[in-house]
C-alpha cells in the first residue's frame, strides 16, 4: 500500500519520455508499413549518433545564430498587459526567426541530419506553408533538392507561401486526395518517401509521425523553452507562472513547454483550434473533443467517426487544420501536466487585431489562438504574475485570409 501511494505521489519525470520504442505512456510508437521500418531505424540510429556530437551541435548552433537569428527576444507586451490589468504578458518572439516562424529551428536540424546521412533529396508536408517555406530555405542553404506536398485547398489559401517556396527552388506538389489539406499532404509525403527511401529524407514539420520524429522534432524545438527559461531568470530572476502556446500538431508548444515540464509551479496551457465552436463539430481540437486512435505512424488523440475514419477539420488557420496531435501532448493531457483548451475562429481573429493594434505585431492566425486564451487567463491573474506566450509565427501570410473572412480588401 505504501508503495502504491508513493507511486501516485511521485511526479512523472517527463524527461525520460519517450521510451526506446517511442512511447509516451500509451501514445506514440511506430505504426507504419513494413517498408518504412528500416529507414526509421536508420534515422533513429543517426539521430542517436549525432544529437550529442560536438561537431553537429556546433554546426546547428552556428546556423541557429547566424542564419535563423537566435536567440529570439522575450518581449514584454506592456500596453496589452496594462489594458488587461492582470498578469504581465511576455511574448517569445519566434515570429522573428528567419522565414517568419519557429518551424526553421526543426528544419535546420533535420536538414543537417539529412546531410550527415548522405541523403540528397528532401520531402516535406505543409499546411499553412510555414514548414514548407522553412524546409525550402534549409534545403537552399545546404544545396538539397526539396519537394513539398501541400493540400490543394491550402495551396489556394496560402498562395504567398507557395510562391516563396518556389523562389527558393522547391517543387510544390498540390495534393488533391481526401480533404485536400494537411493530413492528405502527410499521406502523400509518406508515399513519396516509401518510393524513394534510398536517397530521400522526410522532414516532418511537427511532433507527430512515427518514432523518432516526435522526439527529434521536440528536441530541435526545445531551444525555444531553453532560451525562455534563461531569459526569465536573467531578466526577472524567476520562472513564469504560466506558459501558453497554440497546438495543431504541437511543435511550437512542445518546444516552449518541454524545458518547463519539471517545474511544477509553472502552469502550462495548450490552445487548440475551436473553429466554429467545439460544440458544432466543425473544429480542429482532438484533445478537447477527440479520442485515442492511430494515424500517421503514432497513437494519439484524433478526430474520427465511430468507424475509425478520420474526420475533416475546420479552422480559420491552415496550420492548425489537422485531425491529430503529437503523441506527447496526448500523454501530457492524460497526466494532467498540461491543460488543453480551445479558442474559436472569432476569438482568434479578435486577438489577431488586438495584438496588431496594441503592440504593432501581426501574429499568425495559429498564434492568435494562444494570444486569445492568454488574454482571458491574464485577466484572472494578479499583476505580480507573469505569462509567456509562444509568438510562434508572424501573420503576413494570413492578411488575405483575414480580409476575406471580414469581407474587406486588404
Amino acid at each position: 500500500m505504501a508503495n502504491v501511494i508513493q507511486a501516485i505521489e511521485t511526479p512523472t519525470d517527463f524527461s525520460r519520455f519517450p521510451d526506446a520504442a517511442g512511447h509516451f505512456g500509451p501514445y506514440g510508437g511506430r505504426f507504419v508499413p513494413e517498408l518504412l521500418i528500416a529507414p526509421l531505424e536508420e534515422l533513429t540510429a543517426a539521430y542517436e549518433r549525432y544529437r550529442n556530437d560536438p561537431q553537429f551541435r556546433a554546426e546547428l548552433e552556428s546556423d541557429l545564430k547566424y542564419y535563423v537569428g537566435r536567440p529570439t527576444p522575450l518581449y514584454y507586451a506592456e500596453r496589452w498587459s496594462k489594458q488587461i490589468g492582470g498578469a504581465q504578458i511576455h511574448l517569445k518572439r519566434e515570429d522573428l526567426d528567419h522565414t517568419g516562424a519557429h518551424k526553421i529551428n526543426n528544419t535546420m536540424g533535420q536538414a543537417l541530419l539529412a546531410v550527415r546521412m548522405g541523403k540528397k533529396r528532401i520531402v516535406a508536408e505543409t499546411g499553412a506553408g510555414q514548414h514548407g517555406v522553412a524546409t525550402a530555405a534549409a534545403c537552399a542553404r545546404l544545396g538539397l533538392k526539396c519537394v513539398v506536398y501541400m493540400g490543394a485547398e491550402d495551396v489556394r489559401r496560402q498562395s504567398v507561401n507557395v510562391y516563396r517556396m518556389k523562389l527558393m527552388g522547391a517543387e510544390v506538389v498540390p495534393v488533391e486526395s481526401g480533404t485536400r489539406t494537411l493530413k492528405d499532404a502527410l499521406n502523400e509525403a509518406f508515399r513519396d518517401w516509401a518510393a524513394n527511401v534510398d536517397d530521400t529524407f522526410y522532414i516532418i514539420g511537427t511532433v507527430a509521425g512515427p518514432h523518432p520524429y516526435p522526439q527529434l522534432v521536440r528536441d530541435f524545438q526545445a531551444v525555444i523553452g531553453e532560451e525562455t527559461r534563461e531569459q526569465c531568470l536573467s531578466m526577472y530572476n524567476r520562472l513564469p507562472d504560466a506558459l501558453v502556446a497554440c497546438v495543431g500538431g504541437g511543435s511550437n508548444a512542445i518546444g516552449l513547454f518541454y524545458p518547463f515540464l519539471g517545474d511544477t509551479d509553472v502552469a502550462i496551457y495548450g490552445v487548440e483550434a475551436g473553429g466554429d465552436g467545439v460544440e458544432t463539430g466543425r473544429h480542429a481540437a482532438p484533445l478537447a473533443a477527440g479520442r485515442p486512435g492511430v494515424l500517421h505512424g503514432n497513437r494519439t488523440y484524433l478526430m474520427e467517426n465511430e468507424d475509425g475514419q478520420i474526420l475533416g477539420t475546420h479552422s480559420v488557420s491552415a496550420g492548425l487544420d489537422y485531425p491529430g496531435v503529437g503523441p506527447e501532448h496526448s500523454w501530457l493531457k492524460d497526466t494532467g501536466r498540461v491543460q488543453y483548451v480551445a479558442i474559436d475562429d472569432d476569438e482568434a481573429l479578435a486577438a489577431f487585431h488586438q495584438m496588431a493594434e496594441l503592440e504593432g505585431i501581426i501574429p499568425a492566425l495559429e498564434t492568435a489562438h494562444a494570444i486569445a486564451y492568454a488574454g482571458q487567463l491574464a485577466a484572472q491573474m494578479r499583476p505580480d504574475q507573469m505569462i509567456v506566450i509562444n509568438l510562434s509565427g508572424r501573420g503576413d501570410k494570413d492578411i488575405n485570409t483575414v480580409a476575406e473572412v471580414e469581407g474587406m480588401d486588404p
Binding site: R30, E34, L35, I37, S177, G178, E304, G308, Q309
Partner: protein
C-alpha cells in the same frame, strides 16, 4: 487445417502458383463486392483479399486510395465489409478470405469484437498494413483466440534478423512487397524479388506470396516460379473503377484480367 493452409496444399499438389486477388470492400458501392468476389473465383483466383476502406490509406497508391474514397461515400466500414463476406460465404465455403486494412478502424471496433465478428463472418486471415509486429501483441492474441491467421508484410528494406522475427509471428502465408513504394507502382525487378524470396524461405516453411506492382499476365508469368502466390490488387481495382456504373461490364472486365493473370501463372517462364 485452416482454409488458407488447405488452399496452398491444393495448389502445391496441382503444381500451380496461387493467385491472390484484392478488391476494396464496398467499391464502387456495397452491392458490387460480392458478385465481383464470385467472378474472381470463377476466373481462377485462389484467395481473395478484401480491403477495409480507410480515409487515410498511406501505404496505397492512387488507385486503391480512390477505391477507398468510393466505398466511404456509401459509408462502408468494417461492419459493411463483414456483411459482404458473410454473404459471399453462403455460396463459397472454400475460397480463403483475407481482410486487409489499417489499424485505426480495427482499434475503434475493438480488437476482440473485430476478431470475433470477422471469424464468424468467414474471414480466414487479417493483414494490418500499418501494424508492425512490435506493436501487435494485443491484436495478435485476439486473432489467435479466434483462429484467424495474421498475415505479415516483408519489404525489400527488411533486414534478415527482422525477416526471422516477422516469420516467427506469421501464419497462413507471408507477403513479400516486391518493390519500394506504394500499391500499384511500376517497375518490378524480378531478380531482386527472387533473392529476397530465397531469404524468406530460409526463415519459414510458410508459403510466400509476392505483390505490389503486378499489372498483367506477363508480370504474373515472370513471378510464377519465384513464389507460392502472386498478389494482384490495383490492376483489378482499376478495372472496377473503369466500369463503376456498369455492373455487367465490371464483372466481365474483372473476369478478363483475372483470366489473363491466371494464364500467366499457369505458363511460367522457364529461365533459359
Amino acid at each position: 487445417m485452416s482454409r488458407i493452409e488447405h488452399r496452398f496444399a491444393q495448389c502445391k499438389e496441382a503444381g500451380k502458383t496461387a493467385l491472390v486477388t484484392y478488391v476494396t470492400g464496398g467499391d464502387p458501392n456495397p452491392d458490387a463486392t460480392v458478385p465481383v468476389m464470385h467472378a474472381l473465383v470463377r476466373a481462377g483466383a485462389d484467395i481473395i483479399e478484401v480491403g477495409m476502406p480507410f480515409s487515410d490509406p498511406m501505404a496505397d497508391g492512387p488507385v486503391i486510395q480512390a477505391a477507398c474514397d468510393r466505398a466511404l461515400l456509401h459509408g462502408t466500414g468494417i461492419k459493411g465489409v463483414l456483411e459482404m463476406i458473410r454473404e459471399f460465404r453462403r455460396e463459397d465455403q472454400d475460397t480463403p478470405v483475407v481482410l486487409m486494412g489499417y489499424l485505426n478502424p480495427i482499434e475503434q471496433t475493438g480488437y476482440d469484437k473485430f476478431c470475433r465478428e470477422a471469424a464468424s463472418a468467414g474471414v480466414d486471415g487479417v493483414l494490418t498494413v500499418d501494424l508492425p509486429p512490435e506493436e501487435s501483441s494485443e491484436l495478435g492474441a485476439a486473432l489467435s483466440a479466434h483462429s484467424l491467421d495474421p498475415i505479415w508484410l516483408i519489404a525489400p528494406t527488411t533486414s534478415d534478423a527482422r525477416i526471422k522475427a516477422i516469420c516467427a509471428h506469421a501464419r497462413g502465408f507471408v507477403y513479400y512487397v516486391s518493390l519500394k513504394g506504394v500499391t500499384g507502382a511500376a517497375s518490378l525487378d524480378t531478380d531482386s524479388v527472387g533473392s529476397h524470396v530465397d531469404e524468406i524461405r530460409r526463415a519459414t516453411q510458410l508459403p510466400v506470396g509476392v505483390g505490389f506492382g503486378v499489372r498483367d499476365g506477363a508480370d504474373a508469368q515472370r513471378l510464377a516460379t519465384l513464389a507460392d502466390a502472386v498478389v494482384v490488387g490495383s490492376a483489378i481495382v482499376s478495372r472496377i473503377a473503369e466500369h463503376a456504373d456498369d455492373p455487367a461490364g465490371m464483372i466481365a472486365a474483372v473476369e478478363s484480367i483475372t483470366r489473363d493473370l491466371r494464364a500467366g501463372l499457369d505458363q511460367p517462364l522457364v529461365e533459359a
